[in-house]
Amino acid sequence: MNMAVSKKLDRKVKTRKGEYKMLTSGPIVVMQVPEVLNVGEVHNFMQELGPLLESNRPRIVLDLSQVRSMESAGVEMLLHCLEEVLKRDGDLKLAALSPEAEVILELMRVSRVFETFRACEDAVRSFNAIPAEAVSQNTPWYANVFNELGVVKQAS
């Protein structure tokens, strides 16, 4: 699993302008956010990210490791992106937050709005986890426990 993810991550896809580092892992897009996220940069970044947001069930990971400065326009952009992907039944996750990005998101009270991960790989992997809604609501809570016990018995 880890290998598969990392192999896919190694595939580097150049953007139209070649300004932003973008990596793909199957349908999951990992995109590096620029160092300074001011109004101008937000505009440029959105030109790259915009088409991805309009795809069906977009699954995006934003790598914030390079972020040194972020204006309120940058935070608004992140919220806008999240809103757009959720509308299309997708998800947006933040990964490898720099201390600066972390402080700014906390300052602006949005740090809890996003799902954040230490590394991009972790964020990519989280997309592959079984979503909660996939678990049948009709199954009793103890069903999994008994299933597991059965597996243990068989193994022994």
């Binding site: 001011n38 040194r68 400065s69 204006e71 309120s72 326009a73 201390p99 600066e100 972390e102 402080v103 700014i104 906390e106 300052l107 602006m108 009270r109």
Partner: protein
């Protein structure tokens, strides 16, 4: 007769420069000149010295660390002041290069100096020397000579258990604020204690729906807008404005700072556009004026060296 010379830096220029809120605390960090609970430590020192000294002079060095003599004019001015004290018949001269906050018993140090019969006496606290000397002007010919190697060889060491905070980093600054709140030192917040643990200075405005949780300090003309929360030992210094709905927790807002709407400011020191966060140990400049910015002073205006009480000689190095 005891004379005192305090050498400090000009806070107003430093605040505009915005360089002093740094992770490391460098030579560019004149935290002793920054307001702590209503008054800069250097002003508090000058007031304390005024109680025990007959003459007090404050030399203000603009835009420079007080320990660094990069221009010749500072020693010249100090020499002039020193010569003036000798002319007026001072038996001893206290020299304090104010980079730290300390609570030395000056009378006791003077008595120790007179017992030792040496040219110089330097104050030491638990973690090392302070930039505080008492010199004998009958033996020491000038201010500059007091710091020469020949003078150092004949310096008595005055050891004290007194409270001292070196103010070398933003963390030291924050520790001094909390020590002041919790009476771990003699530094008391300015203004009136309107409720236990809440001090408010003249001209401060607190909207009805704002919540202030003790211990907290609001400086002169500070403005706390509606739905704000000031808590966990936070201090909002003079002319600062916390706008609607913002929570300030375990933080210091330095003078003339605007903090925008609906923010969550915790474990930080904010000075204009500059923010230092302790939890993440990161210093950053917020360029967005709706989030953080410097304010223009209201009322009495910016705190400056001119606030040092009248009656003391204040000289500026140009």
């Amino acid at each position: 007769m005891l004379g005192a010379i305090i050498i400090t830096s000009d806070q107003s220029r430093r605040v505009r420069g915005g360089t002093f809120v740094s992770a490391e605390g460098s030579a560019q960090t004149p935290l002793a000149a920054v307001e702590v609970l209503g008054k800069p430590p250097v002003t508090r020192l000058a007031e304390a010295l005024w109680e025990v000294c007959d003459l007090v002079s404050v030399i203000v060095c603009p835009g420079r660390h007080v320990g660094a003599h990069s221009r010749s004019s500072l020693p010249d001015l100090a020499d002039e002041c020193f010569a003036n004290y000798i002319g007026k018949g001072c038996d001893a001269v206290l020299i304090a290069r104010c980079g730290a906050y300390f609570e030395l018993d000056i009378s006791n140090m003077l008595a120790f100096h007179q017992e030792q019969r040496l040219e110089c006496t330097r104050a030491f606290v638990d973690d090392g020397p302070l930039d505080v000397w008492i010199v004998d002007p009958s033996v020491v010919p000038s201010y500059s000579w007091a710091f020469s190697s020949s003078a150092c060889a004949r310096t008595a060491v005055y050891r004290s258990q007194a409270y001292a905070n070196r103010l070398q980093s933003a963390s030291d600054f924050r520790r001094l604020v909390l020590d002041g709140f919790h009476s771990r030192c003699l530094l008391r917040p300015e203004g009136a204690e309107i409720k236990p643990g809440i001090w408010v200075c003249e001209g401060a405005q607190i909207e009805r729906s704002a919540r202030i949780v003790a211990p907290a300090f609001l400086g002169r003309n500070a403005q706390i807008s509606e739905e704000c929360l000031i808590t966990r030992g936070s201090n909002v210094e003079s002319n600062s404005h916390i706008d609607f709905g913002t929570a300030v927790e375990n933080s210091s807002i330095l003078p003339n700072t605007y903090v925008g709407i609906g923010l969550d400011l915790s474990h930080s020191i904010v000075n204009g556009r500059n923010l230092f966060n302790f939890q993440h140990n990161v210093s950053l400049e917020i360029t967005d004026p709706v989030v953080l910015r410097e304010t223009t002073a209201r009322g009495r205006g910016r705190q400056s060296s001119a606030d040092i009480e009248s009656g003391m000689a204040v000289s500026s190095v140009e």
